[in-house]
Symmetry: D2
């Protein structure tokens, strides 16, 4: 016998779990389907930067607005998730430094900062000496840094799990190791899904499967995976308070003296192997930025597959051909940052609450001619 839910969310990564959480808070009966386990892929691989400004140019694009909006949601969100799940997401609001290693990068970053300030954001240029005063462990060989004090970070695995556990606490049914084999189509709508564990029906279906969304949806969704390799080390004191971010790597200071260093960028592969040639240049650049890392203790290395789109904008909104099918993927390196606003927006759309037009991107990011 087929079971019926109000909304089926496919994918229990940070995006799908946030959507399930927001829908459950509004009283919806949600089924959250996950092919393996909660946050087992990119959501747990992420370094957890909330880089609204460090990752995105202040160009007035909808994505930049979305990012700022989402970043602002974290303080309240941290409290709410703590209340529902008992979990601490380790929100740290101590800024991100975009590092210049030569005069050319300095010029670029000063210009980048100028744009940020013009758009009303905080952004402070620090000469090499000022940078060293703020973060004494940083190399004295750098040319300076653009400090973005409002960017921050969370524990990505904890945020993802806290979303999922809070959703469950609020009534969501989670089914792990459940693979969607096909969407059940009925005219211009989706009546449910067929899985390796049977069929489920629902009023709406949301696909939030990151780099695997295309596979669930069909062939024509214009996204591709970008493999990223990372590693972590342990130290016995907090070397830096803010995150360091050069063009070749970032170093995110986690709790207890742990630091996460990332990330390579290899588009178009589903390979999840950590390669020697991948970690080598990351280690080199990390020691260059923060020389004391040479004495840090190796912990581990891992990969994640980020879902990117050809127009570099997330896919958010209803499917153009199926009125009750929603898509939320393509967040690339910003999935952790954008997870709160994505959850809220998809919940709004499902409830029929008006959403700013420019944030609905499915009409333009889905290939011409239909996707299924």
């Amino acid at each position: 016998m087929t079971q019926h839910y109000e909304t089926i969310v496919i994918g229990a990564g940070v995006i799908g779990s946030s959507i399930a959480y927001h829908l459950s808070r509004r009283g919806r009966r949600v089924l959250l389907l996950e092919q393996e386990t909660i946050a087992c892929k990119a959501s747990s691989a992420a370094a957890g930067m909330l880089g609204a400004q460090s990752e995105l140019k202040a160009d007035g694009s909808p994505l930049f607005e979305l990012a700022k909006e989402s970043r602002a949601m974290f303080p309240d969100l941290a409290d709410d998730l703590k209340m529902y799940s008992g979990m601490d997401i380790s929100l740290k609001q101590q800024g991100i430094y975009k590092i210049a290693r030569n005069e050319e990068e300095k010029r670029e970053l000063r210009h980048y900062g100028e744009l940020q300030r013009q758009s009303g954001q905080n952004a402070e240029w620090l000469e090499a000496e000022e940078l060293q005063i703020r973060e004494p462990a940083v190399s004295s060989q750098l040319t300076g840094g653009l400090f973005l004090p409002d960017d921050g970070q969370v524990s990505a695995p904890d945020l993802s799990r806290a979303f999922a556990l809070s959703a469950i606490e609020l009534g969501t049914t989670l089914k792990e190791y459940t693979k969607v084999q096909s969407l059940l189509i009925k005219g211009d709508s989706i009546s449910g899904v067929s899985t390796n564990g049977g069929e489920y029906q629902a009023n709406e279906v949301v696909i939030a499967c990151g780099a695997w969304s295309e596979e669930v949806l069909g062939e024509a969704l214009d996204t591709y995976p970008v493999k990223g390799e990372c590693f972590s080390v342990n130290t016995k004191r907090n070397l830096i308070s803010g995150t360091l971010f050069s063009k070749d790597c970032y170093i995110v200071p986690k709790s207890g003296g742990r630091l996460v260093v990332g990330a390579t960028e290899q588009p178009g592969t589903y390979d999840e192997t950590v390669t020697l040639g991948g970690v080598f240049p990351l280690i080199k650049e990390a020691i260059r930025l923060l020389p004391e890392l040479a004495y840090a203790e190796w912990e581990s290395a891992w990969t994640g597959l980020r879902p990117q789109t050809r127009n570099e904008t997330p896919v958010l909104g209803p499917h153009p051909d199926y009125r009750n099918l929603f898509l939320a993927t393509g967040h690339y390196r910003n999935g952790i940052l954008l997870s709160p606003i994505t959850g809220k927006l998809i919940a709004d759309m499902i409830e029929g609450t008006p959403v700013p037009e420019q944030w609905i991107t499915t009409a333009t990011t889905i290939n011409q001619g239909g996707v299924l």
Copy 2:
């Protein structure tokens, strides 16, 4: 541009790797496609018993013949795989004891042994005292055991990897993290496969994806997964030389004092979680059979999903509707044991070498009405 191979084998578990190995030895240009990594699922989870007699009734069925034939291939295979891959598969031919814990089980096993002997196999009933003389660490509270001296064991992960690496050495191209999205159909044949890494063409395609074969093939293949939980312990001396096998668990003595204990049986789920309620009765029974295990060191626990068929016979042979599509799955608990003969048979069929009719099972095990 689409690449062309002679044969595409889908699935680099023990079955697919054996097929690729056998085809490569015969000079075929093989592409071996694997969704994740070599032997990452059931093939590495297996305890590695070669239980032709302990697992299968001597009922003259084709499966029993197949099992005996395959078991006999291991000594030469071990040498060949060593030569090609440099790997030792830890073949141990020290028998399996089917354990009776009460008079009823004793009656059953004596009858079981009688059938084995009538079919020409070795099988020796041991009273409790005789069992204790052979294997002094075994509990004195048991009722006896049926000793099957010709059954044995290998290291399942090593066998699987040795097949794959030997195949590669012999010319097979392996592509990991490559997921087959669809078979490319051309009339009554398959022209190749479409994957998340592009299209590949071939003269023949083999599906050897264990419990995931149905997903690759389509919906109607009559198989289902049977979840099994196992655990391992370490000791400082070899407690037993042969494998102990009661109705509730088996204990397989591995190299270096390690023992593998298995396995639960939970049909119809793709869940890969090791549960407390799963390992608990295994621990209980293992200590009952081999009391010294109480002092053994806990190592780890894991699961595997075995592919079972409704008629309890592997699916081996050409697809009834597509002349160049071959299937090799449904080996249930006997995938390690049957991997050599399966590789040989599928290679024979592809080459057109005659194969005993009764071993070709696809016509009867594939659902009426076509599978795609």
Copy 3:
């Protein structure tokens, strides 16, 4: 050249790290010596219960007073450690239930609770039905429980590391992989220590090496190790809010649906092996108390060696023969709970601040006739 410090603390477990933390806060220059790494033994193995009432009879003993005092320090401590180290110690104040499984245990626990209340503590007897209302996942087959609402828990590994990292932040020098080979004696005082990394001098020396304190001090300290085995599981929702504690096991609900189950008691061995016979009865009892645990996911198992004393009282205070040598060990199952007060007391003693006489136990717990 020998380096000089004000105080040398030997052992960077939770006790030594707390002492280093308290001394550093008061401006002392501390050297913290650790044979391996921070909290690598019992401190990280602990389940983290703050069981002032659940572990100790309300008998007016100094140990009970010490425990209550220490428990009361945790809320402020959590804030301070967060400030210095950035780490969250996951303080949870949701009580401990002492579980009765039959009428006899019920009588005992009601009496135990009566004593607690008479001593001014909160303790509430819950009949089986009331227990099930508070904690619906608890088995309906139990006879009731004594609820101790003021007991709680922390993350033991995080507390230990937070103490050490805070101490370092406050000026402590940590040297890991540094083994003390002998104390340097000069008349009735200790002038320093000789280690595998050279000699260090100090005004005072503190031995806080848990079950290994005797080895550092010499032969006659009247303590012995008690081995304890534990395991953990993961669930997708918080099954219980308070800790369950029967005579045969405890179940501590950690963050994110994780639960820690402990612990065996094996006195007199330094063996750190997790045995099958050790975890088996723990699993059995845990499922008995909380039947849903049968569906929980196995995570891992480990051991710790708790330092116990023959008179069941920690060894706290100056050595009777050496005026500047201090001892802090013998905390048995209460090391996490007693770590704040121990750190404070030893710091007081070193500074010459008066300390309640009854809390100084070295004169009575150290063997007659001198210890070195």
Copy 4:
């Protein structure tokens, strides 16, 4: 009550286990004491090279003779250990290439090879092109290599465990987690040992504790630890058959496509931390020698502490002051290679079998003035 044995061997690393094995084969009743677990330190960290020629100059020194003698013992040893323990030690006799990266290194290595040949050993100089024909995956940017065909390798952890398990099979009693606190001295002999698990008496005592031997013996043994960091990667085919060995790293091809890369050299520390600054230059040099390693999969990193002596000669033989105390340590990077001959020699000495004078080194390597 004190238990009595014929010989107590302290340390169940590869040296102590080999000694226990050789003594047990000759019928001695041996007690093997181990502070933690079998081969938990340097013996399992070793890459397992049997580099009699690659590690040691052909200078006619006793150490070189010892090394050749020991290397020659491996084929028979592999069979014997297989028989007693059931374990395969993965002996591979495919040579070691000493790599020249420039003309100066080439001159040095040609001279080194000339000396080897003069001493009767095989050693073949290969120009860059010849090297590439033998090992096509090796970089084409190298200047050549000296091939030492008789050097080889084993699995160091398996060899160590096989020694210990064979010894146990032959009657040795192993006690893990047993720490020797002091030697029991009786005039000019040792009557036994005092441990954290009680006292044991014996006719002879052997100290084989590697870098920790000094600690067991007392202060004046003239040895020191040399920390080495290593890492391993996995590949899907055997990139090389022989071991590559440049001045800055070695690459040892293990079974199943695994390669071990080592090792840093940091004298005088007991620190066992894998540092970023340690693995970085190893990765760099390894990719330089074998460019395909850039695509290899990262597996893990670890450290070992090798016991070195000031005169760079192992400490082998009876203690000058105590007639029944034997020492076997200081094997530096050659512990795996020298383990068979060391076991044999110490057993000979204990039995009173004459041993070549020049191989007994304790008189010269133990400090003037007595060691205890």
